[in-house]
């Protein structure tokens, strides 16, 4: 069913940092393309993806988790143009949603994750970790909504965002939005933005690592935080390498 015929604007909270011009190049029709995935009670699914390219991209995923189901999603946005990954997850009793995201890149592009997690029933858990590494005038965003329904007692939800800016001019935005209607819940969120640790860089140089190699190791360690829950080591390595390949043109 079509949901949006017209383009959103930056006045819409969920599109506040979006590149509407890039979205226009993509066409409003892309907004209707939701990928719906339903997990049966007790089912576990894991999906890892590398997205972003030299043209704008929009990926919209709607997850419905049955009782005790577990959905794990890991994404690296490493393109040179606007890219937005949106995930809506609806959690039934005892379900778990695990999300790990990395945005990395320079230029002028905006790369963003937008998640809406609905804890619809009791005892569901969710954990979201996003790491953004940018330079030039690149921007990384994480807009994360967590809604806890009135009956969803014992909800345990966490969001963690860290931004690493390699140059002045780059930016990172974290917008956690929590709407909690139950009273016995745990919802944690944290956001920090910083630069490469100069002391660590010197320490590494003093051991013989050239600046590029030191930076690559430090960035690898930084983004690794978002992929640590990805148990398939091969997939974890694939996503890490894709992200680090994008680092190649960094200053």
């Amino acid at each position: 069913m079509p949901e949006a015929a017209t383009l959103p604007s930056n006045r819409d909270e969920a599109w506040r940092y979006a590149d509407i011009g890039a979205l226009a190049r993509l066409g409003a029709g892309a907004l209707d393309e939701w990928k719906d995935i339903a997990l049966a009670p007790g089912e576990t699914r894991c999906h890892a993806m590398v997205v972003g390219s030299d043209g704008p991209e929009l990926h919209r995923v709607r997850l419905t988790l049955g009782e005790g189901a577990r959905a794990e999603m890991f994404a690296v946005i490493a393109g040179s143009d606007y890219c937005r990954v949106e995930v809506e997850a609806r959690l039934a009793r005892g379900a778990h949603f695990e999300f790990g995201g990395v945005t990395i890149g320079g230029g002028t592009a905006v790369r963003e994750f937008v998640t809406r997690t609905l804890h619809a029933e009791p005892e569901a858990t969710s954990n979201q970790t996003v790491r953004s590494v940018h330079w030039g005038q690149g921007t990384g965003n994480f807009l994360g909504n967590i809604d806890v329904a009135r009956d969803a007692q014992k909800t345990d939800a966490a969001q963690d965002f860290k931004g690493l800016l390699l140059e002045k001019g780059a930016s990172a935005n974290a917008v956690p939005q929590l709407e909690i209607f139950a009273d016995d819940v745990k919802c944690a969120h944290g956001a920090t933005v910083g630069q490469l640790d100069e002391t660590a860089r010197f320490y590494m140089a003093a051991r013989g690592l050239p600046p590029e190699a030191a930076k690559r190791l430090l960035v690898r360690a930084f983004i690794g935080g978002a992929l640590v829950a990805l148990e398939d080591e091969g997939e974890q390595e694939r996503l890490l390498e894709a992200a680090l390949d994008a680092l190649g043109d960094a200053v």
């Binding site: 320490y203 590494m204 003093a206 051991r207 013989g208 690592l209 050239p210 030191a214 190791l217 690794g224």
Partner: protein, 249 residues
């Protein structure tokens, strides 16, 4: 091996080294002692090339090269090792990964073949055993969650693996208990007591010098070397203090 001539250096415009001159020959362990704030750590950082430590005059020649002309990682590849007073924690990077990349970067810079994973682990195990550091510690992230003593032993394991020509050890004895001090001291001897190597050992205490017997001892005060002597100078300092010894100089 190392020849420092009339070195002046400052941090944020504040002069710390004021005409420091010092020579260290191959095969020598040279202890640097001095009161707090004398410039000992600054000397170590200047030799390591730490950003922010500006050399305003003087020269440093290392094995015929102008050391100050090299980037920090090039100094390491040339054979200089800086043992940190406060070893840095690097979350998310394991010791094994870090040291293998560091060693292979140095080898590459020197035109040598890289060590394979297996070769490297064998070397790391040997050096960890020398310093009695559990090999599992090397699989953990660099210095993260290490006690003060473990950090210092890990520094010496790094030195053993990287096998430098010249080591600048900045208060490597601080934070060590008596047993660990002996292990670290004997590690320094095993790794660096060679005819073609030298050590600049910055310390406050005679107890490390009981294990790593210095060939020469210099007193650094006010950013200069004010006195140089044999091992007996350190013993006098321990007994009489800086003021008395320097007043006699």
């Amino acid at each position: 091996m190392l020849k420092i001539t009339n070195l002046h250096a400052e941090i944020d415009g504040k002069k710390i080294l004021n005409g420091l001159t010092l020579e260290v020959a191959a095969g020598e362990v040279h202890a640097i002692m001095g009161p707090n704030g004398a410039g000992k750590s600054t000397l170590a950082y200047v030799l390591g090339g730490r950003p922010g430590y500006e050399v305003t005059a003087g020269s440093v020649e290392f094995m015929g090269q102008d050391l100050l002309d090299l980037e920090p990682h090039e100094r390491a590849a040339a054979g200089v090792f800086l043992g940190f007073q406060y070893p840095v924690e690097i979350p998310g990077v394991s010791n094994v990964q870090f040291l293998r990349e560091a060693l292979n970067s140095q080898r590459k810079a020197r035109g040598e073949e890289p060590l394979s994973g297996g070769e490297f682990l064998k070397l790391a195990k040997e050096k960890a055993a020398l310093l009695r550091l559990d090999m599992d510690m090397l699989k953990r992230n660099v210095n993260v969650g290490f006690s003060g003593g473990e950090k210092k032993r890990a520094e010496m394991v790094q030195m053993g693996i990287l096998d430098p020509k010249f080591a600048i050890l900045d208060e490597t004895d601080s934070g060590l208990d008596i047993d660990a001090l002996r292990v670290v001291g004997e590690g320094i001897n095993a790794i660096m007591r060679k005819d073609d190597k030298a050590v600049l050992l910055i310390t406050h205490y005679q107890r490390l010098l009981d294990v790593v017997a210095p060939d020469r001892v210099s007193i650094l005060a006010g950013g200069r070397i004010v006195q140089t002597g044999g091992p007996e100078l350190a013993l006098r300092l321990e007994e009489e203090g800086y003021d008395a010894v320097m007043a006699d100089a």
